[in-house]
Symmetry: C2
Subunit: 462 residues, 2 copies
Amino acid sequence: MDIRTQKTFEALFALEDIREVLRQSLPNVTNPEEEHSIKEGVDKVRKILDEIENGTGTPQVRKIADSIDIRSREETYINIQPIQAAGRLTPEARKALIAYGDGYSTCDACRKPFRLDKIRTPPIAPFHEQLASFLNMDVARVVPGARRGFQAVTSTLVNKGDSVIVSSLAHYTEFLAVEEAEGTVKEVPVNEHNIVTADATAEKIEVVKQETGKLPVLIMIDHFDYQYANEHDIKGIAEVAHQYDIPFLYNGAYTVGVMPVDGKEIGADFVVGSGHKSMASPAPSGVLATTDEWAPKIFRTTQMVGDVTKRKFGIKEVEMLGCTLMGSTLIGMMASFPTVKNRVHNWEEEVKKSNYLIDGLLTVEGGKVLSEYPRKHTLSKVDTSRNFDIIAQGHKRRGFFLSDELSSKGIVGEFAGATRVWKLNTYGLSWEKVRYVVDTFQDIAEKYKLQVNGENDSNGSK
Amino acid sequence: MDIRTQKTFEALFALEDIREVLRQSLPNVTNPEEEHSIKEGVDKVRKILDEIENGTGTPQVRKIADSIDIRSREETYINIQPIQAAGRLTPEARKALIAYGDGYSTCDACRKPFRLDKIRTPPIAPFHEQLASFLNMDVARVVPGARRGFQAVTSTLVNKGDSVIVSSLAHYTEFLAVEEAEGTVKEVPVNEHNIVTADATAEKIEVVKQETGKLPVLIMIDHFDYQYANEHDIKGIAEVAHQYDIPFLYNGAYTVGVMPVDGKEIGADFVVGSGHKSMASPAPSGVLATTDEWAPKIFRTTQMVGDVTKRKFGIKEVEMLGCTLMGSTLIGMMASFPTVKNRVHNWEEEVKKSNYLIDGLLTVEGGKVLSEYPRKHTLSKVDTSRNFDIIAQGHKRRGFFLSDELSSKGIVGEFAGATRVWKLNTYGLSWEKVRYVVDTFQDIAEKYKLQVNGENDSNGSK
């Protein structure tokens, strides 16, 4: 870790120690001992600031709670990890974590009817309205991860033995959500371009109907899948779903928060997004949005009555198990939201950077992109078995040679040891960083005598 | 907010802005503009430090992301809120939030078999082992809130129409978890002291058997309930459960993390705890622990196979939906854990403070405690309808007069406007703070000419 990054963490931590003195003191009173601690803390931070300014000093704090390393991946490196990119927090979200870390920090002003999405201070209720409108859906709830959104829908719609249509590139959490509801997944085959089409979905519905004697009860398809990040024909699929009167869940784990998503225009009955994957939010977080038609079913309130006490908890929603995301997880999501709302309009620029990087990788002879090309997403799957992996075969570090080379240049996030088929994500990287990554890959290629084609073109566009 | 607290937040936020410059820069290179920003940031923090030292200055930052107030409840006030007390973060947890805020921060070193509880850096795998051993159970998983622990168990054990025994003081999330699994709750009546006994549980089992023709499939009882925080006979109840061969879920939302809990000694098949309620952890977090006997059922791995692709996701656990608590929520929990493990041994001292406060409140003539007394817990329900509420009747601010008086003395967390029956919690308050709270209540009583008895005694024990 760069010493200035190290010292920035140390300053933050020293301020948390000052804050703890303020927490322990009586209201508006500090005793001499506390005053002394604050003074000491302030002096400590002053020294650290000098070190940040001068880039000097040695690490004083190595671990949190004596066991957890300080994580500085985003400060120290350019991170091309496939699923981390769009979950990186905004500075505002990090400030929210600082101020709202305590477990029930969201609940200070919780009043009747005592439900998270009704709280107005902090502005949780308006956030829920904005979320629904952002997705052009009628109602939205926050959930602890997209998977908990799938679960709420499958738990409501799927009974034992029911079929649910998913993509052949479906994420494993969709499998689990169906299995947990005792249903069975039925995969739509992809075409030769690894795309799920409306026609293939219609065919699969017919197959399921024939095989099981019943229509599937739900169709859930990823707009962009997690393997190739190929774009699937969700609008066409939604139309097919509606022809059969089957509800359609739009899995926006890789879209909601990075590109514009219009649920009504898509024809989605449910839109699910992931906070920590694509909304610059702490984990676990996500969103489940639906229509006025489906809201009373998915967000149905409890009907259970205590047989002895006759207690009812009327407004609590069964599938949400009452309140969902309390504390800093939700407030972090809210703090990033203004940025997230805006950034979806930069999607085309993000895709340009993605293509620039892939083009740069393809200049290394033998390189292939396995995702659809040109790229429509910032996540891509590449195949370097005919260039970098050939080097790896003869290198004493084998596949790790590439990770070694990359990390020595400040790039991390590719799967360590993988030089054949692997994924990367350019989301949120500046042009400067994207160019740096391309240059670095080309430099490594040249170092190992791999042919780099059209390098001038690539450099020329800098 | 006290100006020093305000300035501490401003310094923390300014450091986050410096950190953002480091994040945006190329690896090991900063351009002149970035250098300038860092320099400006450092100077800004220096000025703020002067203000912290001198207690001077005016607030410069009022909101996070232009809409969210800075929360300083724990710095500015003594917080007696009933459910927030034991969820307050330790300084180590706050540092963990700073370092691990990014959504997938836990997943940098995720390797085969790709499951959260197997990750060794940060030490998530050992933490899971420690959690199980802390509760004296065989296996533990983290979950996004205690309610998600209940849900995993009910979803596994409860089928449509099954009965689940709960307490007449059961938390609403138990109702919802049973309802979500399409079961029915059957409440055990409390005795005249608002206690759930083993005998009453046995009787209820017989009633259910008679009425439905089937034994209940699960018994879930809170060790201390959320209404009175009375202690219920969980050991006796566990014994009854085992006599009928019904699994027993110990709801430790108000115990795990504040007092020693020995699952095996209790005879629990499942122990559920809440991170944000009692483990000084960010929300939503919790723990579900079980025995070697039950683990293969509750933590069963997926059996679903893709019909087209033949994909299997073998090691992913169905009820956990794969990975559960990523990012800062989990790391915050881990960072507090060493403190939490130790603090459970101070439980007797915490209960002493609770009784000291209740005794102090009872010196005000007409006051009553509705919870069992002497207190065995730090959460208590009191009835002030015959003292403070009588004042409220004639006060122009009505019930809010008490909140006004308390907050003017730096005490918050009682339910604003409530002067009849309300709850408070002393957990984690220093003796100094507990005495201050008692003195303040007595001062308010005297100001409004309520009789305060034995005040000398109370003061004498200071």
